[in-house]
């Protein structure tokens, strides 16, 4: 019974670990970019501009804000063939303009809609793989939760990011169980576990007190 349980945990540790390994790499590699505020330029950034007219804008545009505004702008964005996660929409009342940032990992699009003429100027920037990793690392993020996750794929990414956390926690707990079974490694393991705990709590204490 104990042997079967051990083998089950060992197999789950292996297979869950394999499944999340690409996600862990995405989060780990992007840490270097975020910590050093630096993005490698593997390929040069490209930018294109185009104009789309006769956009279907909602009649009650002036009264909308937040998520209802984003939902109401979806048909216009679809007509303009702009897909992705819509960010915070800026309504420039004086200029009668809407500035809509739309993000796909590795691509940033800014849609400037002139409300009077129902015409949009669309600037698309291909920002590359490194930027895509950073975007994914920070998504959905802690800010403006009311408007976030308005694109299916970014909602799916949140599920996957959550799954990565849960499976990482499982992998670490099952890893401890598997290590405990290796009697010869217990003393070295305990020393490393203690050293890690000391470093972690020592640093956290020094930073916060």
């Amino acid at each position: 019974m104990r042997g079967r349980f051990y083998r089950l945990i060992r197999d789950l540790h292996l297979y869950f670990g394999l499944f999340i390994s690409p996600f862990v790499l995405v989060f780990a590699i992007s840490v270097f970019f975020l910590v050093h505020s630096w993005l490698p330029r593997i390929a040069s950034e490209t930018s294109t501009t185009r104009i789309v007219s006769a956009l279907p804008l909602p009649g009650d545009l002036q009264t909308l804000s937040g998520r209802p505004l984003i939902d109401a702008l979806k048909p216009a964005l679809e007509k303009a063939d702009v897909r992705g996660e819509v960010g915070f929409v800026r309504h420039m009342v004086k200029e009668e303009k809407l500035i809509i940032p739309v993000t796909i990992p590795g691509r940033e699009t800014t849609v400037s809609i002139s409300i009077a003429s129902r015409e949009a100027t669309i600037v698309t920037r291909e920002t590359g793989l490194a930027h895509a990793l950073v975007t994914l690392h920070k998504s959905p993020g802690q800010h403006v939760p009311d408007i976030r996750m308005n694109w299916f794929y970014m909602r799916a990414w949140r599920w996957l990011a959550d799954a990565t956390v849960y499976l990482t926690l499982f992998a670490s707990v099952s890893g401890i169980y598997l290590w405990c079974a290796l009697r010869a490694e217990r003393s070295v393991g305990f020393i490393l576990l203690f050293a890690g705990a000391l470093s972690f709590f020592g640093m956290a204490y020094a930073l916060s007190h």
Partner: protein, 229 residues
């Protein structure tokens, strides 16, 4: 063929090249050595990542539950030896007995007025110095443990979209170095696990299917979405 988590026998190295056996043994050892050392760091970043992804979880609310206090102090205006904004800010912080990462959030328009923020996990200081009045006003916000956990996840001292801010507190640099080390450790653990899996022929097929599925889904988000849309 030994399994990844089983101890290798003493005669194993005799079966194959000595280097390969040694490499296999040390790869396995280092995999769980790294995991054990980084355990608490991994738990912090995993758990705080989960909380940051769910800002609506009320139990982890920190900012709305903050404790605030305001106080004003007299100060000695920083002399010419305090070079630039950073030097002046450091001198004011020294007088106030505050330590932390300095954050520039406003552009200075009046030489007599100097506003900046100081952050450290759990504590936020909003500082307004008036050089003409020789007084400094401090608004201090202290957040709960959830707030400390959230800030530790993002406490790098730099922001990608704001080149003005750079690390200016030694402990921020130490923490940033630990973030690098945790990331490097995780990359090593992933690579070492791939090697251990590949050394198990009976688990290669199912493992390849699962790894392929994970890579496919992850690849869709990293590069695929740009091709599709």
């Amino acid at each position: 063929m030994p399994l990844a988590t089983e101890p290798t026998g003493p005669g194993e190295s005799l079966k194959g090249p000595r280097f390969r056996a040694g490499f296999r043994r040390w790869n396995r050892k280092l995999h769980f050595y790294a995991g054990l050392f980084l355990l608490f760091f991994m738990w912090l970043f995993a758990f705080s990542g989960l909380i940051l992804n769910h800002p609506t979880w009320s139990f982890a609310e920190s900012w709305n539950n903050r404790k605030e206090r305001n106080y004003e102090r007299e100060m000695t205006v920083p002399g010419p030896e305090a070079k630039g904004d950073l030097g002046q800010a450091r001198e004011i912080l020294r007088q106030l007995g505050i330590e932390g990462e300095i954050l520039w959030t406003t552009t200075r328009t009046d030489a007599n007025l100097f506003d900046f923020q100081v952050r450290r996990p759990g504590h936020f200081f909003f500082i307004k110095a008036d050089f003409a009045q020789k007084r400094v006003n401090v608004r201090q916000s202290d957040v709960n443990l959830w707030g400390v956990i959230k800030v530790l996840h993002t406490f790098t001292g730099v922001q990608m979209d704001d080149p003005r801010n750079s690390r200016d507190w030694a402990l921020t640099s130490v923490w940033a170095f630990s973030m690098d080390a945790v990331a490097a450790g995780l990359i090593f653990m992933v690579l070492s696990s791939l090697y251990m899996w590949f050394e198990l022929p009976q688990k290669r097929l199912l493992g390849a299917v699962i790894l392929g599925l994970g890579s496919l889904i992850c690849g869709l988000f990293c590069v695929g979405l740009r091709w599709l849309f």
